[in-house]
């Protein structure tokens, strides 16, 4: 099938994208914290990629490298009792939710110390104590499930919100729109975060979607949507603050489309032939989320190069510790095969 790429792009302007998008007014400490968190996710994922290469991690492994600003901007806007759910590209979401990187890495290696005791793997991680409900391998499932988590928040008359992350590919699943409809008619406090990294495996948004401005996908459900530069953590956070306020004030669902990019293949076994090296290189060179915040920290003289290096070291140590733990920790006992099927 041929696609009409060029016409689509010109006929679908980003209507709600303001010229001067709001930036979160971060304190110095927060800027450093954002940097550290994003760096931790990136280094963690690089290590996971390396360990996959060493045969220590099996199956599918979807890395989050490139998209770190999204999860850090979103998670830092949440409070206790809020719920979060996403798909299989969730190692970063676990870490941003505050889960122990050791348990995340040990889940990747399928060991007893993994967050799911080795029974979930890369795509199925959970930390309900921190409001993180997975880690789901069925594209789009998390959207209905996340709407249900938000339903529970409302049913219990709390002011908590539910966050459901999903990809540009998942945005074409029917249940997304079933969920939008229910969220709107019942006024559920759910924030839909579309992580538009522009590809679903090898299919670009242009080829898969009749409306590529994904923030507009809620229009026929009367759900407000906003497009955000997902490579800029301060813009992500500012947009999320607005969405969270909207929800907590009882105004129902909100959609945030995060324009982002994954640097690596869809999973470890994807040679990524559907895009050019130049395209990837350009994103890395010009839009990298970590570089942007690093520059800001240096420009504002919050930290100097040596100060940043200290953080790098600290992060590397955390990742190294996780990697060691994940290799030294024993595989689950065979008796674990039969546990946790039923309560």
């Amino acid at each position: 099938m041929t696609t009409k790429k060029s016409t689509k792009k010109t006929t679908a302007p980003a209507r709600r994208r303001t010229k001067q998008p709001a930036q979160y007014n971060a304190s110095n400490d927060e800027l450093v914290e954002f940097y550290e968190q994003m760096l931790l996710i990136r280094r963690f994922e690089e290590k996971a990629g390396q360990m996959y290469g060493m045969g220590l991690i099996g199956g599918f492994c979807h890395l989050y490298i490139g998209q770190e600003a999204v999860v850090v901007g979103i998670q830092t806007a949440l409070k206790d009792g809020d719920s979060v759910i996403t798909g299989y590209r969730e190692h970063g979401h676990m870490i941003a939710a505050g889960s122990d990187p050791k348990a995340v890495m040990a889940e990747l290696t399928g060991r007893s110390g993994g967050c799911s005791r080795g029974k979930g793997g890369s795509m199925h991680m959970f930390d309900p104590e921190r409001g993180f409900y997975g880690g789901h391998g069925i594209v789009g499932a998390q959207v209905s499930l996340g709407t249900g988590l938000a339903f529970a928040a409302k049913y219990r008359k709390t002011d908590n919100v539910g966050v459901a992350y999903f990809g540009d590919g998942a945005a074409n699943q029917g249940q997304v729109y079933e969920s939008f409809n229910m969220a709107r008619i019942w006024n559920l406090p759910v924030i839909y975060i579309i992580e538009n990294n522009q590809y679903a495996m090898g299919t670009s948004v242009n080829r898969s979607s009749s409306e590529i401005e994904l923030h507009r996908r809620g229009e026929s459900f009367r759900i407000p949507g906003k497009q955000v530069d997902g490579m800029n953590v301060l813009e992500v956070r500012a947009a999320m603050d607005e969405a969270v306020k909207h929800c907590r004030d009882g105004n129902g669902p909100f959609i945030l489309e995060m324009k982002t990019y994954r640097y690596r293949g869809h999973s470890m076994s994807d040679p990524a032939k559907y895009r050019s090296k130049e395209e990837v290189q350009k994103m890395r060179a010009e839009h990298d989320a970590i570089d942007q915040i690093k520059e800001r920290i240096l420009d504002a003289k919050i930290l100097d190069e040596a100060g940043l290096k200290e953080i790098d070291k600290k992060v590397k140590a955390v990742v190294a510790e996780a990697a060691t733990f994940a290799q030294e920790c024993p595989e689950p006992a065979l008796s674990e095969l039969y546990t946790d099927v039923l309560a």
């Binding site: 996959y52 045969g55 005791r117 640097y263 309560a343």
Partner: protein
């Protein structure tokens, strides 16, 4: 410390590959993220990125080398501040072998059959003198939900037409009046969406009762029933639970054609992580639906439209809860065991009456719960009768009847005097015409024929 670069695994199945090309040479500076080599697998050419900063000290496998095993050392990087010349190219460790679990010695015997065995539980004794009331199955189901909703504010009912319309089959009659629209919720026609929403609410600890107008429409939602509700506890190592009930009419109704008439019992019964209940009479409907709502696991509760209006005696007790996973001996007999569940129990009882007239004493077992399956009760009966017929209104292949007969073959072979015989619906999509439909579903006559055959009576 030098950084060792080994031949990476680039897919779940890769064991070796061709080192097609080096993009760096000894002495080059590399940064984390730089592409250093290209590797050909059986499927694709992949780029290998450095994940560390350093200087390429040694390249140990030249480009163009085929069949390089995963894990073989291919290059060494010198770390910042390290002298390239000092780097030792000998591998410091062999490929990492996962540490085995400590208790390898006590490997449990592999249980291929359902590992969650039903425990020996008995129905609660109904105290002598308990008043019995006549209730329809419909009323019994409604009472079960209402009683549990009164006790626990986390229980709510959701589905199409459950509230204002009072239920497409009037099972939820009166619930909206008593509990209000926050707990009795009309949904749009979006089975996939509201099944997922319900499962998500259950992750958060609520106890949803999700009504499907019929289970035929739950095919739209089966992904959430199986992938989300049934598997999440296991995949999370027990961290996330999903206390939810999916209920509604299942199986053939009356002349509604193939798309509205399927029995899904064996589909759901195949899935670990689910409990599957299919009651026959009103008392069991009430006691088991209450048990399903109280159960911390996802439960598929299969009702039958044709049974909704049937009346049965139900004990008038404050809290009549029955054990899940326990079959019921409906009628005792000595010559042949007839196993059934749901509406077909009625046919089995009719068959037993007629067989008695001909001198054959049939024991009728209602499975009530399909998963976990109470095979013990069936086996005990077969030890006595030495013959078994399994009757089920549903297709034969991979059916509940198939499974019961397989388990009897494995566990009661020595007690059988005749092959276990399945009596199923005809293996066709259910037709509309009155005569064809009747011919397709299981009748008492079909059961009688099979019972006589296994008794070697003419």
């Amino acid at each position: 410390m030098a950084i060792e670069i080994t031949m990476p695994a680039l897919s779940p199945t890769m064991e070796k590959g061709t080192l097609a090309k080096w993009l760096v040479k000894e002495g080059d500076n590399v940064e984390s993220g730089d592409v250093i080599a290209e590797i050909e697998t059986d499927k694709a050419t992949m780029e290998v990125e450095s994940i560390d900063d350093g200087v390429v000290a040694k390249i140990l496998v030249p480009e163009g080398t085929d069949d390089v095993p995963v894990g073989q050392l291919i290059a060494v990087l010198a770390e910042e501040g390290e002298d390239v010349a000092d780097v030792d190219a000998a591998p410091s460790h062999a490929a990492v072998v996962p540490t085995p679990a400590q208790e390898e010695a006590e490997v449990p015997v592999k249980e291929t059959a359902v590992s969650v065995v039903s425990v020996a539980v008995a129905d609660p004794a109904v105290p002598e003198g308990t008043n019995m009331v006549k209730l329809t199955v419909r009323e019994a189901l409604r009472d079960a939900m209402a009683e549990e909703m009164r006790k626990d504010g986390d229980v709510f009912v959701m589905g199409e037409e459950v509230a204002e319309y009072q239920g497409a089959y009037k099972v939820t009659q009166g619930l909206l009046d008593e509990f209000g629209p926050e707990r009795v919720i009309d949904t749009p026609i979006t089975e996939h969406g509201f099944a997922g929403l319900g499962a998500g609410a259950a992750f958060a600890g609520l106890k949803p009762v999700i009504e499907f107008m019929t289970f035929n429409f739950a095919m739209q939602a089966i992904d959430h029933i199986i992938n989300s509700a049934a598997k999440t506890r296991y995949m999370s190592g027990g961290l996330v639970q999903c206390p939810i009930v999916f209920r509604g009419p299942n199986g053939a109704a009356s002349r509604v054609g193939a798309q509205h008439s399927q029995n899904y019992a064996s589909w759901y019964a195949n899935v670990p992580g689910l409990k599957v209940i299919a009651p026959y009479d009103a008392a069991d409907s009430k006691g088991l639906l209450k048990a399903a709502i109280l159960d911390p696991n996802p439960v598929v509760f299969l009702e039958n439209e044709l049974m909704y209006g049937e009346s049965f005696e139900v004990p008038e007790l404050d809290d009549y809860v029955l054990p899940i996973g326990k079959a019921r001996i409906f009628r005792e007999g000595a010559d042949v065991t007839i196993v059934s569940y749901s509406i077909t129990v009625g046919e089995a009882l009719k068959a037993a009456d007629k067989l008695a007239e001909e001198g054959i004493s049939a024991e009728v077992i209602d499975l009530r719960t399909i998963r976990p399956l109470d095979i013990e009760t069936v086996i005990e009966s077969v030890k006595k009768t030495n013959r078994c017929v399994v009757a089920e209104e549903g297709w034969p292949q991979c059916s509940v009847a198939s499974d019961v007969s397989a388990q009897l073959m494995e566990q009661a072979f020595d007690w059988l005097d005749a092959p276990v015989t399945r009596v199923n619906s005809v293996d066709v999509p259910l037709p509309y015409a009155n005569n064809l439909e009747k011919a397709a579903v299981v009748s008492a006559d079909d059961i009688i024929r099979a019972a006589k055959a296994v008794c070697y009576a003419e």
